[in-house]
């Protein structure tokens, strides 16, 4: 809690530093200057001052424009001087000035929004540059310590509404006035996502913020969570295009990409041309979950059986071809049972000996070279002898082909697959423990990041806090909220106990609140259960 004037000044200085670091106000001022042809008094309120005020408000979890004048009139004299808020007539900053400047910013950033024939990227170019610049500041310096990122989107409902209302309308021909049911939309930028959508998400009228968040590399040290690129779009925009724009920005900033962790919303297609292919072209290694229609056998290529997107030896027994992953969906819990998960991973491990072994990295054209598991010494196959010394205790191939068809994986030790033939192929076998460990990084990065964005403990951006309409104005508020989230996460990362310092041993009685109870409904009564502690 901020209580002293020193702390207040430090906070002002910090907000100013973030705004300076983003440099977004410079571009906005340039755009305003280019468009400003109006004669009259010069504008007193600068964009930088407005942005500093919005950033300060975001620190305290408020996003109301009416509070901006209070903030700007209440900051220290030094800060006022730095921000050019010293007026000759001594008048304070007014809400009218703030609203005027916000409207002007809205106008200059949406110049190309409705231009026909432009791509999304081109139409939103100016806004994206400003939005991403603001939302990526405040990050911990260590956030650049990894190459991997995690991408996801989060709903931002608009303050406006879109509904049918009764209104009096005038018939232009007859001049008759009558009541009619008309559609009233107070935010034409926002999009609708109906209740019946493929992702089964709740209905929403508003926007979606898509963010790329830093994630530790596999086997690498932990890195602080921070937004490294972000986009703000109507909720009905194609999430894959938005995510690709974020990935492209990260690749451009960092020079190269590591793992790109995404959920099933982005990888719904079986061909992968819409998302996975472009990510690989950018140099990223997608790590993703599969949808139900992508699990199991999807055909054969060069004699190899394609299961869960990966090529397997044709000697794989039929019993191991389709292994359904456990899901929490359909049960009363969010996650599947650990017992089911362990059984599933054991089956995946049993199947893994039939998987074709990747030989080296992807080729420059995206093609993949695989080695026969028999030749790689993973199983005993009568068609392919192991390349090196044979290990003791290898499992024999269950159903090896009786004859070798030319051109198939059984005819040669190595076989090259075209990139388009294996769009769903991942570095780790889908469902294996290694895959779970790799994909699990998503759940500890981007999801809690959005949690922080909407939690009152961090940025506190939830419904009702933003009372402006339109993509630009709402987007600016969200951008400052993301910057605040970055700052809070950076502070939390620094406050963590280092891994090599042992936890302080607590003395005395264990602190328990005795409020947790595990019950099981039986015969209309809740039976209290005693769960195992370890």
């Amino acid at each position: 809690m901020i209580v002293t004037s020193q702390e207040l000044r430090a906070l002002e200085r910090e907000a100013e530093t973030l705004v300076d670091e983003a440099q977004a106000y410079v571009r906005v001022e340039e755009l305003l200057a280019l468009r400003d042809r109006r004669k009259g008094r010069p504008r007193d309120l600068s964009v930088k001052a407005l942005f500093v005020a919005l950033q300060l408000l975001s620190f305290s979890g408020t996003y109301f424009l009416r509070d901006v004048p209070k903030v700007l009139n209440g900051i220290s004299p030094e800060a006022r001087r730095r921000l050019g808020l010293v007026r000759k007539n001594g008048r304070p900053v007014t809400l009218r000035q703030v609203n005027y400047l916000m409207n002007r910013i809205d106008q200059v950033l949406r110049q190309e929004f409705h231009t026909v024939g432009l791509s999304d990227e081109a139409r939103y170019a100016e806004f994206d540059a400003v939005f991403s610049a603001i939302s990526t500041v405040g990050a911990h310096p260590g956030a650049t310590g990894s190459l991997s990122i995690s991408i996801d989107g989060s709903d931002i409902p608009t303050w406006a509404n879109d509904r049918n209302v009764h209104r009096q309308v005038i018939n232009e021909e007859t001049g008759e006035v009558r009541w009619a049911i008309v559609r009233r939309n107070t935010d034409t930028d926002a999009g609708w996502r109906g209740a019946k959508n493929p992702q089964n998400k709740p209905a929403l009228f508003g926007y979606e913020v898509t963010a790329a968040v830093s994630v530790r590399d596999v086997g690498g040290p932990d890195v602080p969570r921070a937004t490294v690129a972000a986009r703000f779009r109507p909720v009905n925009a194609d999430g894959r295009t938005t995510a690709l724009a974020c990935i492209k920005e990260v690749a451009h900033k960092r020079g190269r990409l590591g793992d790109v962790l995404v959920d099933r919303e982005y990888t719904q297609s079986k061909h992968g041309k819409d998302f996975l292919g472009p990510v690989r072209e950018l140099g990223g290694e997608p790590v993703f979950d599969l949808k139900e229609n992508q699990v199991g056998v999807s055909g054969t290529i060069l004699g190899a059986v394609i299961i869960d997107g990966q090529p397997f030896s044709p000697s794989i027994p039929k019993a191991l071809r389709t292994i359904a992953p456990p899901r929490g969906k359909g049960s009363s819990t969010y996650k599947p049972s650990p017992q089911e998960l362990a059984a599933y991973q054991a089956r995946i491990k049993a199947r893994s000996i039939y998987a074709l072994v990747p030989h080296g990295q992807r080729l420059p054209n995206g093609n993949l070279v695989f080695q026969c598991p028999g030749a790689a010494g993973k199983l005993l196959c009568p068609l392919q002898a192991p390349f090196g010394a044979q290990r003791v205790g290898l499992l024999p191939a269950a159903t090896p082909p009786k004859t070798v068809a030319p051109g198939t994986v059984c005819a040669s030790r190595y076989r090259t697959f075209d990139a388009a033939e294996l769009p769903l192929c991942q570095r780790n076998l889908y469902g294996s423990k290694e895959w779970f460990d790799s994909y699990g990084r998503r759940g500890s990065s981007v999801e809690p990041h959005f949690g922080g964005l909407k939690s009152d403990a961090a940025a506190g951006l939830h419904h009702g806090k933003v009372r402006v309409s339109g993509l630009i104005k709402t987007g600016l508020m969200v951008a400052f909220a993301l910057a605040t989230t970055n700052r809070r996460l950076a502070l939390a990362f620094d406050a963590r106990r280092p891994a090599d310092v042992p936890a302080k041993r607590r003395r005395g009685r264990p602190y328990t609140h005795n409020l947790t109870r595990h019950t099981l409904g039986e015969a209309d009564r809740d039976k209290v259960l005693y769960v195992a502690r370890n």
Binding site: I316, P317, K318, A319, L320, A346, R347, A350, R351, L380, A389, R391, V392, G393, L394, L395, P396, A398
Partner: protein, 301 residues
């Protein structure tokens, strides 16, 4: 030697159900699938008494479960094939009873390439006979093919300390990776009483062990009991792999030293032996040079 099945054994097999056991490893649904092949596989031994049959049934049920989980056809010929048994045995850990002898005997009874009487009875090992080169290679290979890196590290450490340094069981207990040191370009391992010279050909093995176990005791620690006893059990009844004996590993080291042109004093110092009479048992396994013959040289008295 086909024998008629005992009626009480047949009755016992009809009602055999491992699901009812106190620590069952199969579910009812799994047993429904596995039961036909287990009964088929145990068939040639149905002349045995029912209490003798239990360990066979337990081992066979677990093997059938393993085969079922790995998608193999559930028939006795597939199940009791030596390759599948060998593969299964590499995954077996912490079993109360070692399933190897029972499975090999079942495999033999089906005529599937088992080693016959080689698995029955125990031959008293020659504790001072060194391992041959092939046996050493088989031991190292078997050490690499263990079900966990812990086992591999422990076995490689035992082989390194035994055959590479000739260190006895007690002295090897406290050795860590930091005990390797040099005296005039020659590598030694420090033990509480002496420094054992490291055979040059075993240095790569040392680096491999230290990579797997960079800190702590080189041989690791067993949760219950002796490390070497546990390690010997991991290699027990493996095809083509000799029984692991620390004495034989040490004999391999001592015999290798005796075959080199080094003084007896050095051999005694490096191997920690008290006197030359201790070498008697090893000399029988050392090939003598042809130049040393029993005939007295000219002028000798």
């Amino acid at each position: 030697m086909p024998t008629d099945p005992r009626p009480e054994t047949v009755a016992f097999l009809d009602h055999y159900n491992p699901v009812k056991g106190p620590r069952s490893h199969v579910t009812t649904a799994q047993w429904v699938t596995l039961r036909p092949v287990v009964l088929e596989g145990i068939g040639p031994l149905s002349h045995l008494a029912k209490h003798s049959l239990r360990p066979f049934l337990q081992s066979l049920t677990r093997l059938a479960l393993f085969a079922h989980e790995h998608g193999y056809e559930l028939s006795a010929h597939v199940l009791l094939s030596p390759t599948l048994i060998e593969a299964y045995l590499t995954t077996v850990r912490d079993e109360a009873k070692d399933p190897a002898p029972y499975l090999w005997r079942l495999s033999d009874s089906w005529g599937l390439g088992g080693a016959g009487g080689a698995h029955t009875g125990r031959v008293r090992p020659d504790y001072q006979g060194p391992y041959s080169q092939d046996e050493m290679a088989a031991l190292v290979l078997a050490a690499h093919n263990q079900s966990s890196p812990h086992r591999t590290a422990t076995l490689l450490a035992i082989i390194f300390l035994g055959a590479g340094c000739g260190i006895t069981r007690e002295a090897a207990r406290e050795v860590t990776a930091r005990d390797l040191h040099q005296h005039d370009d020659v590598w030694f391992v420090r033990t509480p009483k002496y420094c054992a010279r490291v055979r040059e050909e075993f240095r790569p093995l040392f680096y491999e062990v230290t990579e797997l176990r960079p800190s702590g005791l080189l041989r690791g620690e067993a949760a219950h009991g002796n490390v070497t006893v546990a390690a010997a059990r991991w290699l027990h009844q493996r095809r083509g792999v000799p029984a692991l004996s620390v004495d034989r590993l040490r004999a391999t080291y001592v015999c290798a030293l005796l075959g080199e042109p080094v003084s007896v004093v050095d051999v005694l110092a490096w191997s920690g032996l008290r006197g030359a009479e201790s070498l008697d048992g090893y000399l029988a396994h050392v090939s003598r040079r042809s130049s040393i013959c029993g005939a007295p040289s000219k002028g000798a008295k």
